[in-house]
């Protein structure tokens, strides 16, 4: 039961994060629409540079209400989109 719930949460979170990602992508790339994102997509190859990712994390804080990079005691830098989603899931304060 719990497993299904967390799986659902994860895909819900994936959708939420990818929709914010798409908005940031468009705003950073003159309105162009974002490419398809998968769990294994490498963040630095996803069409956003360092500044784009910095903005993504700020927007995610506004959209989700928390910043795992401040919450987590572990100094961690996700490399793929799936790792980013998992980092947000495992550090959700609620």
């Amino acid at each position: 039961m719990t497993k299904t719930k967390s799986a659902n949460n994860k895909s819900e979170l994936f959708d939420k994060i990818s929709s914010v990602y798409k908005e940031v992508y468009s705003s950073q790339n003159k309105g162009k629409s974002a490419p398809e994102i998968k769990n294994e997509t490498i963040l630095l190859d996803s069409g956003l540079d360092s500044l784009g990712h910095a903005i993504l994390i700020t927007r995610l804080e506004e959209a989700l209400g928390y910043d795992p990079f401040t919450i987590s005691s572990e100094a961690y830098y996700p490399r793929t989109f799936g790792e980013l989603v998992e980092f947000y899931r495992s550090n959700n304060p609620t």
């Binding site: 630095l44 500044l51 910095a54 903005i55 994390i57 700020t58 100094a75 961690y76 830098y77 490399r79």
Partner: protein, 451 residues
């Protein structure tokens, strides 16, 4: 000791440079110029070449003979290179073939190879010590020329050849700038191999090049380190040393680098083109120990006045080259502009005293962003500040009051964000906006700016 003599101490035929996969030995560097070099004695040369493999034999040939040479990045604009050539009063320019300087007026003669250049000079008295001229970063105004010497640049360089010959340094900086030249000199003087990847390569390709060449030592800014950590193949570099410099290194990035490279010694360095290397910290904690104020570890004095950090390097000439502008007080103190705070036994960096925001190495003046915001009809007052960010160190954020209190807040935020993207460079655009009802004003009626 001049560069040539330092290189002669390194075992014959050791490889000193891997440039775009080609190995270059100590002998090739030392013996490239077999001609009589004495004609160049006393000359003042500006060098603007993109490859270390070309520049290194040149500077090892002319150090000790010429009065001065400047190392200028080919990434600079033609206008800037020309203006630096004039302000430094150089007698000749030695640059890449494809650099379009030929059409610029009022420049000294331009050459592409050292042999041709030498033949146009008449020998004069060589200096006591050749001046090595570098440019400042120019992030706070136009880049300026700073005068160093090989001895001032290598003051903290390790020279143990027994250890050094086992190391492979990866170059991620522009070698003409202070941080890059530190890596270059540290590597070759201690007999290590310097890996110079193609400058235009993506970070992933550079890292692949480092892995293939057994890179053991890397130096980069915290922003670049964060990017390295986010690059999947980076954990395959077997690092023995990771150096962070150029921006404030916080606890998070220090511990992340340390975890990613478990065999590496982690050092963060405080340095500037003007002051040289101030100190290096190896305990993997942000800031530096308070006792550095009393006992500076590298001989550079450090003091704090009104929460501001000052450093003093007695070996550096305190005026910009070719100018009367001093960057230090008469007794040598340089204002770093960094705001610091002492907490327990540690001095911690709190940002810039002038409120300048560092976005991944690019500086942003809050006033510039505020002035743009104030031009928007929705805004009645604005305060711009740094919002900390795990990727770029900080981003630009603003609190604004609206001219009409009834405006829909989320709409206003969206409009102002779009407006800032349209009006400003990417790194200056607002990452976050808060609508507030008012500001604290100081006695002169200005919005209080907190550092």
């Amino acid at each position: 000791m001049i560069l040539k003599d330092r290189l002669k101490k390194i075992p014959n035929n050791s490889t000193l440079l891997i440039s775009n996969s080609k190995k270059i030995s100590r002998n090739e560097i030392l013996n490239k110029y077999k001609i009589d070099l004495s004609k160049i004695s006393g000359a003042r040369i500006l060098i603007c070449k993109s490859n270390i493999s070309e520049t290194l034999p040149i500077i090892s040939a002319i150090d000790g003979l010429v009065d001065s040479f400047a190392l200028i990045s080919t990434a600079n604009s033609i206008e800037l290179i020309s203006s630096l050539a004039r302000s430094g009063n150089f007698e000749a320019i030695l640059c890449d073939d494809n650099l379009n300087l030929d059409k610029v007026k009022n420049l000294p003669p331009i050459f592409h190879d050292l042999e041709t250049l030498i033949n146009t000079f008449r020998s004069r008295k060589p200096p006591k010590e050749t001046r090595w001229i570098l440019t400042t970063s120019g992030t706070t105004g136009k880049p300026k020329l700073v005068s160093h010497s090989l001895s001032s640049l290598t003051r903290t360089t390790k020279t143990d050849l027994k250890r050094g010959t086992n190391f492979y340094w990866g170059m991620l900086y522009d070698y003409t700038r202070f941080a890059g030249l530190q890596v270059l000199l540290q590597s070759i003087i201690s007999g290590s191999v310097l890996i110079e990847p193609i400058f235009e390569y993506s970070l992933e390709k550079k890292i692949k090049n480092f892995i293939n060449n057994n890179c053991t030592h890397l130096s980069a800014t915290p922003t670049l380190w964060r990017k390295i950590l986010m690059t999947p193949n980076s954990s395959q570099i077997n690092l023995l040393q990771a150096t962070l410099g150029g921006e404030i290194a916080d606890d998070r990035i220090l511990s992340a680098v340390s975890k990613h490279f478990p065999n590496a010694r982690i050092a963060h360095i405080f340095a500037s083109t003007e002051a040289g290397v101030g100190f290096s910290v190896i305990d993997k904690k942000a800031g530096f120990p308070k006792n550095y104020l009393k006992n500076p570890p590298l001989g550079i004095n450090i003091k704090i006045e009104n929460n501001r950090l000052y450093v003093r390097n007695k070996e550096v000439i305190n005026k910009y080259f070719g100018s009367e502008t001093a960057f230090a007080t008469n007794d040598g103190w340089i204002d770093t502009g960094d705001s610091v705070e002492i907490k327990n036994d540690r001095v911690l960096f709190r940002g810039r005293e002038d409120g300048v925001i560092n976005v991944g190495g690019d500086k942003v003046y809050p006033e510039e962003v505020e002035n743009i915001l104030l031009k928007h009809p929705l805004v009645s007052a604005a305060r711009v500040y740094a919002k900390s960010n795990p990727i770029t160190g900080s981003l630009v954020a603003a609190d604004v009051t609206l001219t009409d209190q009834k405006t829909d807040e989320s709409k206003a935020k969206k409009l102002l964000q779009e407006y800032s993207i349209e009006m400003l460079d990417r790194h200056k655009a607002l990452a976050s906006i808060k609508i507030v009802s008012g500001f604290n004003l100081n006695s002169s009626g200005k919005i209080v700016r907190e550092v």
